[in-house]
């Protein structure tokens, strides 16, 4: 086990931000933290990285307690935070050089990482000249260079264009395959689906739902319907007893989870109410669906 978080409580300004959180991160596992703003995702990452300390409970990283063996525990971690942590007067290379020296990484690896992320053009510029996307790339380069046992990432996709997001996804999976476990927070639920082995849904400082890739990707009796007038569907189908769950997605589609795999009654009812089905297919249950069912539409 790489990380063990047990009975964590944290109050900030007398407000309960983290309220009895328990979870573990296994070797080579990617765990995503999902939740609305203020749910406690960043606070949780800061607790794990020892930037703040729990009021109660314990955190162990590779069996090391960061509050007792801070330096040893932090040697196993790399934290990809928001871009404000970068020094504006230093170059990207300065940052990488420092990390390489502190972590005793051969300098030749810096160039490999630079090439891999294709950041040669601006690595010798001062960070103050970087765009948000460039800063995110540099933060990623720092994380890649460290090759930690546990990589913490706070909203890593912020500021990335689609091709960079794809690259990040590949790199996360690559890191996992090379032996790094990852705990990351994200708002971009579609991306979470593609990389996470496990998703922790957080609300008001508590884990309210935990789904592993096995149980959320192949949920039975789940259908995705593209229909006209999706806004009316909840009223029309409210008396339908075969429906376990109905979620109206942001894209206008509806996700139906049925008790029995029989759609005939539902199709008939929609047809009778002049709602036409444009497309229908059986689907995996997506994070977005779970998210909506937990936090509401």
């Amino acid at each position: 086990m790489i990380a063990e978080i047990k009975g964590i409580y944290k109050k900030i300004d007398n407000k309960e931000i983290i309220n009895n959180i328990n979870f573990t991160i296994g070797e080579n596992e990617i765990v995503a933290l999902v939740g609305p703003n203020g749910a406690g995702k960043t606070t949780l990452l800061k607790l794990v990285s020892n930037l703040i300390f729990p009021d109660e409970g314990s955190i162990k990283i590779c069996n090391l307690n960061p509050s007792k063996n801070r330096e040893q525990a932090l040697a196993k971690i790399s934290f990809m935070q928001d871009s404000s942590v970068l020094y504006p007067d230093l170059t990207g290379y300065d940052h990488l050089f420092f990390i390489a020296k502190v972590k005793d990484i051969p300098l030749s690896k810096i160039n490999k990482v630079i090439k891999k992320l294709k950041i040669e053009k601006y690595i010798n510029l001062k960070v103050r000249k970087y765009s948000l996307g460039m800063k995110q790339h540099l933060l990623l380069a720092i994380s890649l260079l460290s090759k930690p046992k546990l990589l913490l990432m706070d909203e890593p996709l912020n500021g990335l264009d689609p091709s960079s997001s794809l690259l990040l996804r590949q790199l996360i999976l690559e890191l996992r395959d090379e032996g790094t476990s990852i705990l990351f927070s994200s708002h971009i639920l579609g991306e979470v689906d593609k990389v996470a082995d496990r998703i922790l849904f957080i609300r008001e400082g508590q884990i309210v739902e935990e789904k592993s890739s096995e149980n959320f990707k192949c949920k039975k009796n789940s259908y995705l319907l593209k229909i006209t007038k999706p806004e009316e569907v909840r009223n029309i189908l409210k008396s339908e007893s075969n429906i376990n769950e109905l979620v109206i997605l942001d894209c206008g589609e509806i996700q139906l989870t049925l008790i029995e795999p029989d759609l005939r009654e539902i199709i008939k009812k929609l047809y009778d109410n002049h709602i036409f089905i444009i497309d229908i297919h059986k689907t995996e249950q997506r994070t977005e669906t779970i998210y909506h069912s937990i936090y509401g539409d």
């Binding site: 020892n50 930037l51 330096e71 935070q81 404000s84 942590v85 020094y87 230093l90 020296k101 502190v102």
Partner: protein
């Protein structure tokens, strides 16, 4: 100490525009002072002959105003004789000055001052310059003749070592403390402000090491800044007007008596004390930074606190009885070395040795508190 962190911190501090701008500004101001000093010196030299003439004519006028009927009285005769002696000495000084014979000029000045001193001590004269000042001037003038060093107008001297003394008179004092607080006082707090402290605090380097490294870098950068400005002042002064004499005597007041050290020793001892003043100032700034996490508050609070305590001791003479135990008493290092503060506060316990001890102990205490606090500091 982590050498990689040290290297990073040096890079950061040397790349901060604010720091380089302030150093350049001090250099430009120094240059301005040098030009001003040169103008003042020229004016001083051109006025000197006039001054002698004016003093002679004033005394002559005083003699002419003695009523005729009183001139035959013995006591008046004596005063008239003394006046005439003064005129003679002043004429000697004026002649020597015109010929460029500074030794003769000084010799006449010494006799003039000795007479004045005698009159003050016997009660024949009252008021005028303080006895200590006249004694000190006599001593310095004697030393100058003995060492064959041409006298200078101390406040506006332009030769290398003398100009350096004038610049360090600013830097090794309260103004220097304020400048250094402005340059390095926020070395830690700015990281909390900008959020960059998270970058360091998530590395496998202890927080205590981070604070120690920052303190060391702040201290060494302050020394570097002062050294750069000093070197510039010395070189620019030496280039145009020569180096001056490192043996130039400086009067030290200690328990009512004057002793002398040379300007080289004077600057070295002041510099030594200022090193401890810097260590103390940085310790205060670091502690305030740890507590407040804000560069603006750290700088302003350090400046306000330092100003209040420095002025209350040095300017208003509060806490005079135990001023020797207050670190802020030692901020004006020249006043400590030449005994001015001890003499002003009538507290002879104020000394270089005790100053170093007080500043060192206070700094260690503050630094220890900072290290304790940083361990428990949360970064939200």
């Amino acid at each position: 100490m982590n050498k990689h962190l040290l290297f990073l911190e040096y890079k950061k501090i040397f790349k901060r525009k604010k720091n380089i701008i302030v150093i350049c500004l001090i250099i430009v101001i120094s240059l301005g002072i040098l030009i001003l000093n040169n103008l003042l010196n020229k004016k001083y030299e051109s006025n000197k002959a006039e001054n002698y003439k004016y003093q002679i004519s004033s005394i002559n006028e005083a003699i002419s105003q003695i009523p005729r009927e009183d001139r035959n009285r013995d006591s008046v005769k004596k005063i008239e004789e003394e006046y005439k002696n003064e005129i003679k000495l002043l004429e000697q000084q004026a002649n020597a000055f015109e010929k460029g014979n500074w030794k003769e000029e000084l010799k006449a000045q010494i006799i003039f001052d000795e007479n004045q001193l005698k009159n003050l001590k016997t009660g024949k004269a009252i008021g005028g310059e303080p006895i200590q000042l006249i004694e000190s001037r006599i001593g310095i003038n004697k030393q100058l003749i003995k060492k064959n060093i041409k006298p200078i107008n101390e406040s506006s001297a332009t030769q290398g070592i003398y100009f350096l003394r004038n610049i360090l008179n600013i830097l090794f004092g309260f103004m220097g403390v304020i400048i250094m607080i402005f340059i390095v006082g926020d070395i830690l707090a700015i990281e909390f402000d900008k959020g960059t402290i998270n970058f360091l605090f998530t590395q496998s380097i202890s927080r205590e090491k981070i604070v120690n490294t920052k303190s060391l870098v702040a201290f060494s950068f302050s020394i570097f800044s002062i050294f750069t400005v000093s070197l510039f002042a010395f070189l620019i002064g030496s280039l145009f007007w020569g180096t001056g004499s490192f043996d130039y005597p400086i009067s030290i007041q200690r328990e009512g008596t004057s002793t002398f050290i040379n300007i080289g020793q004077y600057l070295t001892l002041s510099g030594l004390l200022f090193i401890f003043v810097l260590i103390f100032t940085i310790s205060v700034a670091i502690l305030i930074s740890v507590i407040t996490s804000s560069s603006m508050i750290a700088i302003s609070l350090t400046v306000i606190l330092s100003s209040m305590l420095y002025l209350s001791v040095n300017k208003y003479g509060y806490f005079a009885i135990f001023a020797q135990y207050l670190p802020f008493s030692y901020f004006n290092t020249f006043n400590i070395i030449d005994g001015t503060l001890a003499s002003n506060l009538k507290n002879n316990n104020i000394s270089l040795k005790l100053g170093i001890e007080v500043l060192l102990v206070s700094s260690l205490l503050l630094h220890f508190i900072s290290l304790r606090l940083i361990r428990k500091k949360e970064v939200f």
